[in-house]
């Protein structure tokens, strides 16, 4: 019984880690806080359709009218293609909003959950599969974390 309880408490971690492993696929997902979601809006400055990770650079409109640049990790080319993306799915100049899980260091950096275009159609990032639970690599003090599930290669 005790073993079952322990497994149940670890299950969200294991599920999250399996998806996060796919999401990162190259290195640790520890830099992002999967418990948080931030919505940013703006114009796409640049799309880096690259390995080991692809990125969208977004010029975000601030409340004071100033623009700030966000770097959003969106997956990798092969991973995104398997999720229905194409290289030209997002282009420089597109007006979009993004829900991201932000970096723990507080910088304008995050991993994509959902991208929404001006006409309402959406593209999911792999982080959308991770759920709102604590992600792998969360700081100590969070829920129990199996050491075997801390990172992706």
């Amino acid at each position: 019984m005790r073993a079952k309880v322990r497994m149940n408490s670890l299950l969200p971690w294991i599920v999250a880690t399996c998806f996060a492993a796919k999401a990162a696929a190259h290195h640790s997902t520890a830099e992002f806080d999967y418990t948080k979601q931030v919505t940013i809006k703006g114009a796409v400055k640049e799309v880096q359709w690259t390995n080991p990770h692809s990125y969208i650079q977004l010029m975000v409109d601030g409340e004071d009218g100033a623009k700030s640049q966000w770097s959003v990790e969106i997956g990798s080319p092969s991973l995104n293609v398997n999720m229905g993306w194409r290289k030209d799915s997002v282009k420089a100049g597109d007006l979009v909003s993004m829900v991201v899980s932000p970096a723990r260091n507080g910088k304008h950096y995050g991993t994509l959950r959902v991208l929404t275009f001006a006409d309402g159609h959406k593209l999911e990032g792999i982080a959308a599969k991770v759920g709102a639970g604590p992600g792998p690599g969360a700081p100590a003090g969070g829920p129990p974390k199996p050491p075997a599930a801390a990172t992706a290669p």
Partner: protein
């Protein structure tokens, strides 16, 4: 007039090719001529600058000419940052054929494979009928081939536009179609006659010719470009003018990687189980749970876990783009291409990008130079291929927790294909008394893939600054030499080399 002079040979070649094509049946399978192409080839000239087959500058459009001039100016000042090979990213096509590195051609009935001596790159040419519709552009594109008499014709589309055609910076777009005609001439040289059709950058199709020769000294070893950068060496070895036309063999090239005779699948041992084809892991396993760590091994794993729990990105051999063969045993992802012959089983891994050569019915050399790839020998035990590997350099980790390995690592893999050919089960026994108290077994399973090509994993393509700002380096040599730094405001991002955070 210049246009006519330039394009004349192309037209002639095209007409001759068309005539040959109509006269010779298109064969989408191995040809009787195939064995002549197999083996290791060394560039005759490895030109830094591609010219048309009659020695002219390619017919650039005005816009492409402007870009090319800018790159030539940069190059004159020692700045080759427009060429991804300068930071160990994928060279692309035909750039990799212009490098001063040998390549080896292997083949079976369904595909021809080019294994390049520069940083583990390979190209898989599908011999099946029908065109491909690339879902994404790749460094090596999506090559499809057929035989016309003794000529292998390869048409490649889906080439990513961030690579250059040659070291001088000739541009291309993703509209590029490369058509290669390869054959071995009476003088024993391999000729690759390449037609470049890219209306976005060139006013008309043009043709260039590259030739290659055999050299018994040439080797296709396990080359690891980022280690060169870490040592302060250039990513691409370029011999001085007038020097021998091929570089020294890649270092640490142990026996099995050293120019074994290529043999078509027809030469596979009679009755041997069939492993050839394209496979993919049934699941993406990133962890090796339950490994019997010694105190020394546990100490390393604890140190890694503490770093990760503080939110740092662990820079392992895998993450820093120099995985070992053991990573292909424990953490393969995406496609695996296997070629099988009587004397070798060749495994080409998409991710991590890795070429493994298993010499059949051989023995390990008495003295092994440690390497990432190790030395693998195999034999058949009934329906199972047993692969024994030694000679590792101890730099690779077993899994994403960074469970270590040492030069004492010894692995025995047992590959057993299912009776219906739909899957392969792999049991790997790992023995490393430095970090594990006793041998243990890792199980993996692959399923047959319907893909005609693997995708590719260009690990060094985009080393983002953010990945290194909060990194934990298992070894100091994993610190990056080149990083992509974002531009302020609307300024574009750029690669910056020479920084070590």
């Amino acid at each position: 007039m210049r246009r006519l002079r330039l394009f004349g040979p192309v037209l002639c070649a095209a007409a001759l090719a068309a005539a040959a094509s109509s006269a010779a049946e298109r064969v989408h399978a191995a040809s009787a001529a195939q064995p002549a192409l197999l083996g290791i080839w060394v560039p005759d000239a490895a030109p830094r600058r591609l010219l048309t087959s009659d020695g002219q500058t390619p017919p650039l459009t005005a816009q492409a000419a402007k870009l090319y001039d800018e790159r030539r100016q940069l190059l004159a000042h020692g700045d080759a940052s427009f060429d991804p090979t300068s930071w160990c990213a994928g060279p692309g096509m035909p750039r990799i054929l212009t490098m001063q590195y040998p390549f080896e051609i292997r083949a079976d009935a369904k595909r021809v494979v080019f294994i390049h001596a520069w940083y583990r790159w390979f190209r898989v040419v599908d011999l099946g009928p029908g065109a491909v519709d690339p879902p994404l552009p790749l460094t090596m594109g999506f090559p499809v081939g057929h035989w016309e008499a003794d000529t292998l014709v390869i048409r490649t589309v889906g080439l990513i536009d961030t690579t250059v055609m040659d070291a001088s910076g000739l541009p291309h777009s993703e509209q590029l179609t490369l058509t290669e005609r390869l054959h071995v001439g009476p003088d024993g040289r391999l000729e690759d006659r390449i037609t470049i059709d890219d209306p976005q950058n060139y006013t008309q199709p043009w043709e260039t010719v590259l030739t290659f020769h055999r050299d018994a000294r040439a080797r296709v070893g396990d080359d690891v470009c980022p280690d060169r950068l870490a040592r302060g060496e250039p990513a691409e070895q370029v011999p001085p003018a007038g020097a021998a036309q091929h570089p020294r063999p890649a270092r640490a090239a142990p026996g099995p990687l050293a120019g074994t005779a290529a043999t078509p699948e027809a030469g596979a041992a009679a009755g041997a189980p069939h492993l050839a084809g394209i496979w993919e892991p049934k699941i993406f396993g990133i962890l090796v749970p339950g490994a019997p760590l010694s105190a020394a091994g546990q100490e390393i794993v604890n140190r890694n876990a503490a770093a990760m729990q503080s939110g740092r990105i662990m820079q392992t051999a895998w993450v820093s783009c120099r995985p070992g063969a053991v990573s292909t045993m424990t953490m393969p992802r995406e496609k695996i291409v296997i070629l099988q012959s009587a004397d070798e089983v060749t495994l080409l891994f998409e991710m991590p990008r890795f070429v493994r050569r298993v010499r059949l019915n051989g023995t390990h050399p008495a003295k092994l130079e440690p390497s990432y790839a190790g030395d693998s020998v195999g034999h058949w035990e009934g329906g199972t291929l047993v692969v024994d590997s030694r000679g590792f350099n101890g730099l690779a980790e077993l899994d994403a927790r960074g469970q270590p390995t040492s030069p004492k690592l010894h692995t025995v893999e047992r590959f057993t294909p299912s009776a219906d050919g739909a899957s392969i089960d792999i049991e790997t026994t790992v023995e490393d008394p430095e970090y594990y108290t006793h041998p243990f077994v890792i199980k993996r399973s692959w399923k047959a893939s319907a893909a005609r090509h693997p995708f590719e994993f260009d690990c060094m393509e985009n080393p983002r600054q953010e990945d290194f700002e909060n990194a934990y380096y298992i070894r100091e040599q994993y610190r990056p030499v080149c990083m992509r730094v974002e531009g302020e405001g609307m300024a574009p991002s750029k690669m910056v080399c020479g920084r070590k955070p």
